[in-house]
């Protein structure tokens, strides 16, 4: 008998499927070893050329090459080592391919058309008064309960008055300095605290980590730097009072937070007000480091422009966030409420290195209209008695696609490690999707990992019951959705939680008939 094999392999298909989640699993791809002589030659030339670039220009020309990077670095008057670091990142980026393992469909950005640096817009370019602002936007501000005084600033109206918040901000800055806390733009920290930036930048998210993080490393514009000295409990939630300033942080934001032994800090990022931005691609990087007994709580409310109800426009939010519980008994908590952006690709993660360290991830992600979100977390248990909790709530409405993707890895030495994961999805309407793709890897027999997921919808009977008790359908839906998200909201600082709740209501409006 003569037998033949027919394989069904289609090489193209295979390439397309190559390591989707796999890419996510590998925390860093190949180190940069290549660098051909040719590349170096090219670099030298451009580098030289880079220095003659007019740094007085307001913006870099579209596209990315080494001169653009030199331009950005020169604009910020950066030290040589940082420029080198950026260039290393850029050279590595050239060798990478944009990942396509996420469950997302979108047109990849054209990197040749992106302007990677432009000076903050002058106030004179904006609308002259609130009358010129889109009334729909103002209506949304009202619904969200944003103080009237802030409307103009959020909408980019040119006003001369100094806002309360700015002076409030200054006052708090003094107070922080008193206890030794450093809280400033990272571009400033590069100059004022170079030893700290140099010591920690890129240690949690190496410049070679992934396509977007590598791009960010090459071109990041600004972001926050926070340093909490040994034993200091930060006396206030950071950044609550800086809502308006946050707007200019740019599309390639880079944040670095260091909590020394026994320090603790709660950091709030983003704002509930809808953010309009002409930049389609946002690729931020956030790095957190917690030493022994330190505690970092990082809360995000993300409401970038999601595109219109037909799925036109909207932000691509491709973010790398990672924290390292380096010290024993340290704790990092990520809490996120994601309602904005057309496409979200985001996995705030924890490396649990210290014994008895704790990682937590609480997430609410809402996708309405044509929004897509592929988001989740990675919990890497290395130390003994490490614990992690993952609570993810996905809400899909309209044609929205909501994906939870998470990795729980318990390494061999992680004795008695514990993980509990709960992923719940709620679907509203029958044209949306809810997907759950967990990866669970356990290599220690004393460890316990538990994963549960469920999918539900708002029941007709629940709505009827509420209606019968006099509650409108809209209120009933809000009530049920809020109940669904309760476990996450209670992790948010109080004021933020109230805003987040309103934000969900606004984002869900008109999604249910």
């Amino acid at each position: 008998m003569n037998k033949q094999i027919n394989t069904t392999n289609d090489p193209k298909k295979e390439a397309a499927e190559a390591l989707p989640g796999g890419g996510m699993l590998l925390s860093s791809s190949n180190p940069v070893e290549e660098d051909t002589a040719l590349l170096k030659e090219t670099f030298k030339e451009k580098y030289k050329w880079g220095f003659v670039t007019d740094i007085e220009a307001d913006s870099a020309p579209p596209g990315l090459d080494e001169s653009t990077i030199a331009f950005i670095s020169a604009k910020k008057d950066e030290p040589e080592w940082l420029l080198e670091w950026r260039l290393n990142a850029y050279r590595h980026w050239l060798t990478m391919e944009e990942p396509d393992w996420a469950h997302l469909k979108y047109n990849k950005p054209n990197y040749d058309e992106i302007i990677f640096y432009s000076a903050p817009k002058s106030l004179a370019d904006g609308p002259k008064s609130l009358d010129e602002v889109d009334p729909e936007l103002l209506e949304t501000y009202k619904k969200l309960g944003i103080p009237l005084a802030e409307h103009a600033a959020l909408a980019g109206v040119a006003v001369d008055a100094v806002f309360d918040s700015v002076s409030v901000g200054t006052t708090f800055k003094d107070k922080l300095e008193e206890v030794g806390i450093i809280f400033c733009p990272i571009s400033e920290a590069v100059h004022s605290h170079p030893e700290l930036v140099k010591k920690y930048l890129g240690t949690i998210v190496p410049y070679s980590d992934n396509y977007y993080a590598t791009l960010n490393s090459a071109v990041f514009t600004d972001g926050s730097f926070v340093y909490i000295p040994k034993g200091v409990k930060c006396p206030m939630d950071l950044s609550t009072y800086f809502r308006i300033n946050a707007k200019s942080s740019g599309q390639f934001e880079r944040t670095l937070i260091i909590a020394e032994e026994g320090a603790s800090v709660s950091y709030l990022e983003g704002c509930t007000a809808p953010m309009r931005d002409e930049n389609q691609l946002h690729a931020a990087v956030v790095e957190l480091i917690a030493l022994d007994d330190a505690d970092i709580k990082y809360s995000t409310v993300q409401n970038w422009y999601p595109g219109d109800e037909n799925g036109v426009g909207g932000i691509y939010n491709f973010v790398t966030k990672r924290g390292k519980c380096q010290g024993d008994r340290s704790r990092i908590t990520w809490t996120q409420v994601e309602t904005g952006s057309a496409v979200t690709w985001k996995y705030p993660s924890c490396i649990l290195l210290g014994d008895d360290s704790v990682g937590e991830f609480y997430s609410v992600a809402l996708t309405n209209n044509y929004q897509q979100a592929d988001t989740g977390t990675k919990m890497i248990h290395i130390g003994k008695n490490t614990r992690s909790t993952i609570i993810s709530k996905g809400i899909s409405a309209g044609q929205g696609q909501n994906i939870y993707r998470g990795l729980v890895r318990i390494q061999k030495g992680a004795e008695n490690a514990r993980n509990y994961t709960q992923c719940d999805s709620m679907l509203m309407g029958d044209r949306c999707g809810a997907h759950t793709f967990p990866y669970i890897e356990v290599k220690n027999k004393t460890a316990k990992a538990e994963h549960e997921a469920s999918t539900s919808k708002i029941g007709e009977d629940q709505l009827f019951y509420c209606n019968q008790r006099g509650i409108s359908t809209e209120d009933a839906i809000n009530m049920i959705v809020n109940g669904f998200c309760k476990e996450v909201f209670r992790e948010l600082p109080m004021e933020f939680a109230v805003e987040a709740r309103r934000l969900l209501e606004v984002s869900l409006e008109s999604s249910v008939g």
């Binding site: 008998m1 033949q4 394989t7 029958d430 999707g433 759950t436 967990p438 997921a453 999918t455």
Partner: protein, 384 residues
């Protein structure tokens, strides 16, 4: 005489696919399957578990008419592979081989024995087509067993078509040598109100890939896909499932559980896919593991992909040690720690075997489980 021309280069790169990321069978690409060996047929009788039932025997991939008992509705076709398994995106190589076709009512479990023996590596495909017409009921048991410790490879591919209101049960057991490779797939298409259950029991093999693809193409389908494994040494099992709910009112259950000792590894990937408008789908998927050794490990990917809102879908995965409360209860009744642990492990696994309705197959599997289970002697003594 059999020769098998396998283009084994395919095995080299399989693990580069997301679907195979935890399972590396590249060692197979260096194996020479071309040598033929003399076959010892005396082994066959030993594996004829149910002697009153239809029996179809293949040795090293070749049909053994003299040892088989074909009854009405069972035929062997050597001419075509047909489209068996073609609907899925399985990457397991498929090849020409005799195809066993099973039709009509088969209430006595049809036993297909795929046995590989000999002192040189051998490979075999096993193509099976199960076609249950309306209201018919078919029960099939497949035994895949390597009797010599060689790099043998099994690549069985079974396709099930369950027409309206039909009922199909398949028990696939992977037994024998802990050196063989088993890369098998089951492809199930269900029509309205049909019921299909599969049980995949893995006790033997070095690298075992069990794929199940199920397409619920009619309303009111009932599907149960279960699996059990007890592994030691450097054994690896990779249970890989995709269950597609394409029509409303389907019920599916996937329940895989296992115990890993020594350097054994378990991989589980299960995707429940619910198509738009497949409302009232009720799908549930669970993977449970217990690790007994410091060197065993588990990877689980229970996945949901859902495009309809009026559905009930859940999945869960647990990995851990034995329930401490149950341990205490047993110990307050005087049962020593080790015995209590063995008892609970056995109970954990035996729950799957209890689902098997055919006693003769169940008792053979219980026996093989007990011989794989550390402390299995103690359990054997408890049987009344």
């Amino acid at each position: 005489m059999m020769t098998m021309n396998i283009d084994n280069s395919i095995f080299k790169t399989l693990h580069k696919n997301e679907a195979w990321m935890y399972t590396n069978v590249s060692a197979l690409s260096n194996v020479d399957f071309s040598t033929t060996t003399e076959v010892d047929f005396t082994e066959i009788k030993k594996y004829d578990i149910a002697q009153d039932n239809p029996f179809v025997v293949f040795v090293n991939g070749a049909f053994q008419e003299g040892y088989s008992r074909l009854e009405e509705g069972i035929s062997i076709n050597s001419d075509t592979v047909g489209d068996i398994g073609s609907r899925s995106d399985s990457l397991i190589p498929r090849g020409d081989s005799d195809t066993v076709t099973i039709t009509g009512n088969q209430n006595k479990t049809v036993h297909i024995l795929q046995i590989i023996t000999g002192d040189t590596p051998a490979s075999c495909f096993g193509n099976v087509l199960v076609h249950a017409a309306q209201d018919e009921s078919i029960s099939l048991a497949e035994t895949h067993i390597a009797v010599t410790d060689q790099n043998h490879v099994f690549m069985p591919c079974t396709e099930v078509v369950a027409e309206q209101k039909s009922n199909v049960t398949i028990v696939r057991s992977i037994r024998g040598s802990k050196e063989a490779y088993h890369l098998g797939s089951l492809h199930v298409t269900q029509h309205e109100s049909s019921t299909v259950q599969t049980h995949t029991i893995t006790l033997g093999g070095k690298r075992v890939r069990n794929e199940v693809y199920a397409y619920l193409d009619g309303e009111h389908c009932e599907s149960n896909f279960d699996g059990m494994y007890m592994l030691g040494k450097d054994q690896l099992v990779d249970n890989h499932l995709r269950v597609e709910h394409n029509e409303p009112n389907g019920n599916s259950r996937e329940f895989y559980k296992g115990v890993l000792d020594e350097n054994a590894r378990s991989v589980f990937t299960g995707r429940i896919y619910v198509k738009e408008d497949a409302h009232q789908t009720d799908a549930k998927q669970t993977n449970q593991n217990i690790l007994l050794s410091d060197d065993a490990d588990v990877s689980a990917r229970p996945q949901l992909e859902i495009y309809a809102d009026d559905v009930l879908c859940t999945h869960g995965a647990t990995t851990g040690e034995i329930d401490e409360e149950a341990m205490l209860y047993l110990r307050t009744r005087g049962i020593p720690k080790d015995a209590a642990r063995t008892l609970l492990i056995y109970a954990f696994l035996n729950e799957s075997l209890d689902e098997l309705t055919d006693d003769s197959f169940r008792s053979v599997l219980v026996e093989e489980l007990l011989s794989n289970l550390p402390g299995g002697e103690f359990i054997r003594a408890l049987y009344l």
